[in-house]
Symmetry: D2
Subunit: 439 residues, 4 copies
């Protein structure tokens, strides 16, 4: 499938995004679409239907003349959490539904795709920018669910003693990225968040939680030039990091204790070697790769153990802009690359003479980076009106912000201002960490 | 499929029982095989595999020369609770497994069926009665799982807002069975439990909990001549039976309160009419049919409200022998009839003159009948040696005995001495009640 | 305090029973009266008030002319579970109440005692046998709470790391009771339960669950001549009884696993020696004493390990009548003896020649004996009318019957027909076991 | 008791603070000291002992020559959460301990007071500033527990159907504070947090989470001139605020739903009037008083309903410094005033002509004010070394910052930089809200 470009039409981008969702399903058996292995996980079938419900609810029903609801029962079944969009089925019970079948859900998808195709063919983006903006939300919404489909099926497969392989993959030997270096940033008053405006919906697009743009003073700080590696994390384990109470937040320690955590999620020891479950099945941990599937608690404890700390989200945004301004498409290990696991940083060349300032790597892709910033509203934040206003605002307690996207994120989906957020105990996403320190 | 007869060979009976299991799957979509809607429920796929594991573990592996395990991973996945047969997968997580797929499970079934076919063709029952007895357990075990497959898929479908139909069925109008009459039994010292011995494994067969045969004195009692009907139970509801605390056992009342019970399981009110979910989908409650899906708590409260009580299991066995001695095959509404729901009793003819003693009806089939006898060991009870000894003995606390089979039980599976047992809050089986009183 | 005799007047017995309740409180500090260390345990203060509420509710209010309620709030606070006697405070929250204070509760007691004193002085038992019968229930009810006060305060003290001593006690060295012998009983049809009638309320008294008297056939059996000892139980532990799954009921094993049981409740190992918490504080386990604080699950597993089984309650009643017919007062280690712990059986004399049949010991007192009989209704059972009908009947599921009383039971409280009952996981009562076998 | 002044000696302040702790106990019966009505609540007895343990552990043991531990068992029992100070008793089980008794705990207090008295008499603050700083922590720690003693005993009394009165109090009629006015603040770069340094320990003192001082840019904002009142909150209730899902955070709504919240904690409706439980017992809600015992979820929903938002903690600190710079002692309704409930704001005079900018009221005392700032570390934050480093740092997830102190806070305890923090569902503290908006 040819990659999208930033100049594609909405219709082309709609077709490409929708096709990519189904592309991700290719390795699955019918039975794989049904299972919900924990409350946080949704069945693949549900993702396929929910993303379709989104188009039907927010585009076709309000704007496509003559469109009739595909099935009266589906809005109830496939609304996720939009209270203002009506009653909905209990999240924890999505795995109890064998019907509609996969075939029926795909028929629903294709009917909506056909209606959307007709609609977009006739659609004048310039005349209806407010509808274009909703379509843009829909594209980004579907890309978020593509990432969840991968992390969810990884979890589903992981709890199966047969440990199925999602997609086999040959791993070439990797290079040691070498020791961590520090990249410094001066203090300053920065503009944080999105610049409003733009001619096209794509230029205008951002989630409401990325604004309003406002000023924040950032004290001098330094960042590790790359992500923390699995090999570095092994030292933390060996030196009893999981048993050293003072390293941990109180709730983190309670979680370690209650869950019996002694290593990162998906890891297990076999004959003294570390293995982990990946979308390529069980394989040995490659110490050069970034550590991933860390909870906030583990990332925070590791940083403390390393004599450092986690970044703030403002520091991260300031640093990210030095490597990419948000225009064009970012470089990095994204879902399109098909690796579906974080990749090692490039070694710092240490050839002739003193290396100058090391290059900041892996800011985009590979793993989401935990920040120590709690997920909350920017000054002056207002959710958009209506059901879509529930997208972000109502989750503003208890979570921490993550930045930068992962190996399961679409390259066309990420920005320096992008704010992801999860509860601090969550581990089933591709979450890792970069060290920071105050200067 | 032609009905089994009592004189069929083991090989013929094996083939028939195995075929019936698959026959029950015909209405299902692939997705339906995967879902576990509560811990008590197992996915259909699991039932198919577990019953196959049984043959492999208890017959083929010990007795079929040269048989090799079909898949190393299956014993762990498909052992239910036989501790002595090895480690096993967590019951509550059977619905988390998308693999092996239905197709793979059916391949496993057919491979085992082929091996069993070869084995049985060469098998001399007379020479190896101890093996024949194990095969007999396997046939009865599979019949038990056939009943569970029906009650489990009914539960799976019921939690789906689409309310799928397992098998459509036209319901002819029914007749009012008329008022309840009482059938009296004199006091006496009775032999309870199975008569040991028999020439064939089929004659010998009983579960270990049905013996040893022993003597019990039964005081004079009377039984309702038929099961309590849905219409009679509606009166209990209307007269606030679900809010009348003194009718209920303490734990029953706590359950009513905690679960918010206001009517039997699967019932719901629509525009002032009672409907219920059945294997034929949602339909109006027929007041002439026996009430079913009652917990012990509800059955016990109803009996108290009606000025009566539940039978003891010894009373039931004494009464049952007056209508069928356990030889031949019983009459009744069993799974072979395909109704898959209890059917009304026949009206008592009240034509010419005083009717003599009413005939005892519905002792076999229709619904399991709750007794007030806690499930415990008969005097001198010893479980059989080895893993099969876990079949019954280790469940002997907290449950009550049910007798008589249901509309989902095989006609070839039931006996007057047969003891089923469930926790008093269980409602997903075809459980109903017959009134009793002391004279 | 001089012991009660069977010929004392109701007034004298009322005074004695009430005084004994307060006598049991003598070792307590004010703070000790307040604590509820688990839901099953009630604060001493609550026991003092609840037993007083009983007299006020069931005797003074209905029968004592001109009596006015002591405090409007108390019926709500001190009703335990009598639904028909009005709303009541949540059992699990009894430990949340600091008020009324101990002093206020004692004032309530004394006011009620005064009113009861006046009432009983003028009371003609012969003229009002139905009132006398309620008073008799009250006396027995208070004795039951005396036993609970001891087992509850033992639990309260046990969860306190300071391990307070209820009452210090010097333990003389004990004698080894010698090996277990068996006492045989022939088969027979027996009358079980109370003989109705009697001239005085004391003669008439029994709890409703002890009747009606009915016939039961008992197959031939044998009983261990004494209780199982702590020393015998140590062997079970050493031989990995707590890890031998096939010995356990399924729910028992789940409990062992979930609770991490590796020895009896209150036991702990110190430097390779077994110690246990007693009402005399921590002391070494005396191997000659009967094992106590066993759950049904442990008693049942032990019996299976020992190649025996638990008694049925009918067997027990038949055997008990051979040592005491229920008239006069029983011999045994009861609460009046002040030992507050089971005592060793007497050694069997093995002196001159073959010992005749060993004497059946410890049937009364020492420890309650678990039977494998589920707690259920006797044929023809009817609870008494009104709130007192909730005393026994509504608990008839999930529990097992215990017989014989314990070292915390009053000597005037027990009978061969007496049926105590607890859930099979309960361990905080003085519960032990006697082995039985079928012949 | 004469008020403390800022120039008192450490010894005088020690004596005064310790005496005030016991002064708060005067209204209590012995039984009241024992109860733990929920996990968040500690028994008064535990507070008395824990604060004493603090002095013993952090001052007497390390610094008082020849001091010997009062009781070997107490460190285990009375350590709260300082992992580095050793093992500790489970928090949820503090209410299970009847021993040590109140008398024994008071003896412990007095012994430690005597030792501390000797120590402080000989203590040269200038020579040992690091010890003086620990003593200062101890004084502030004890003041925090004084506030908890009041909110905890309020909770203990509230769950008692008798609704005991902590301290009776006559309430004079109050004045309507009039409509809410707004006070504006300009944008600016501000120094946030404590100014390091100071000659005396009192001047130096702050909790580690109040630093390091750093710069933050604050966009223009406005604050309500006073706290939101109970009367204003009644309108929110009447207009179905508790049923209007879009007003609530997702977890807030889940809490409302699960807990059945329909009004603030401690409120109840009687004959159409709002009453609430206070330390003066049940009384009618005074609409002029500030609303209190709000969770973050309720405060946040109210602010959204009112078209406003909660303050950020930086805005709050900037605003607070306009009314008090942190030197001297603040004005306000603190614990010393003995009202033990928030008091109405003063009416804005609206006499002659247009009132100028309204005066900012109630910033200090009355109720803690929820901010929408998640509790996290300031840039460059480092906890102090050793066990005292666990005081604040390990709680930095999931809570929100509250500012300003309450009617249960000591006047000598609060500062503009002071950061309190609780989980968003907590309601048993004196928590209220002030509206804010972005300009």
């Amino acid at each position: 499938m040819p990659p999208l470009t930033v100049t594609d039409t909405l219709a082309a981008r709609y077709a490409a995004v929708r096709a990519f969702t189904e592309h991700l399903c290719e390795p699955l058996a019918t039975e794989d679409y049904v299972v919900q292995s924990m409350t946080d996980v949704s069945p693949t079938k549900w993702h396929l239907a929910h993303t379709t419900w989104f188009w039907e609810t927010f585009v076709l029903q309000p704007y496509a003349e003559g469109y009739t609801l595909y099935d009266e029962a589906y809005p109830f079944l496939f609304n996720s959490y939009y209270v203002q969009a009506g009653e909905r089925h209990c999240r924890a019970q999505r795995g109890y539904l064998s019907r509609p079948t996969v075939e029926e859900v795909l028929a629903f998808r294709h009917a909506v795709d056909e209606a959307m195709g007709h609609f977009l063919d006739a659609f004048d983006e310039t005349a209806h920018p407010e509808i274009a903006d909703v379509i843009e939300v829909g594209l980004n919404h579907e890309q978020q669910h593509q990432e969840l489909m991968l992390t969810d099926i990884k979890h589903v497969f992981s709890v199966n003693p047969l440990r199925p392989v999602y997609r086999a993959h040959d791993h070439a030997p990797t290079l040691d990225p070498g020791p961590l270096a520090w990249v410094s940033f001066e203090e300053g008053l920065h503009e944080i968040g999105v610049v409003p405006g733009g001619t096209t919906s794509r230029e205008r697009f951002h989630f409401d939680n990325e604004g309003p743009r406002h000023r924040a003073f950032v004290e001098p700080f330094a960042f590790g030039h790359r992500l923390v590696t699995a090999g570095e994390f092994m030292v933390f384990i060996e030196e009893d990091g999981y048993r050293n109470t003072p390293l941990w937040l109180s709730e983190g320690w309670a979680t370690v204790d209650a869950e019996g955590w002694t290593e990162p999620f998906y890891w297990e020891q076999r004959d003294g070697e570390w293995w982990h479950f990946t979308l390529q099945g069980m394989r040995r941990v490659d110490p050069h790769e970034p550590i991933t599937h860390l909870s906030y608690f583990e990332a925070d404890a590791y940083a403390r153990w390393a004599g450092a700390r986690l970044p703030s989200e403002f520091e991260w945004e300031v640093a990210a802009r030095t490597v990419w301004d948000g225009n064009g498409l970012p470089e990095g290990n994204f879902v399109e690359r098909g690796r579906l696991h974080p990749a090692p940083a490039e070694p710092i060349s240490q050839g002739d003479g003193a290396p100058s300032t090391p290059r900041l790597q892996q800011m985009m892709g590979d793993t989401w980076e935990w920040t120590h910033s709690a997920y909350t509203a920017y000054p002056g934040y207002r959710p958009v009106d209506g059901a879509l206003g529930e997208y972000n605002g109502k989750w503003m307690n208890g979570s921490f912000v993550l930045r930068g996207g992962s190996c399961a994120t679409s390259r066309t989906h990420i920005r320096p201002t992008y704010r992801n957020f999860f509860h601090p105990a969550a581990t089933w996403q591709f979450t890792g960490l970069r060290l920071a320190k105050s200067l």
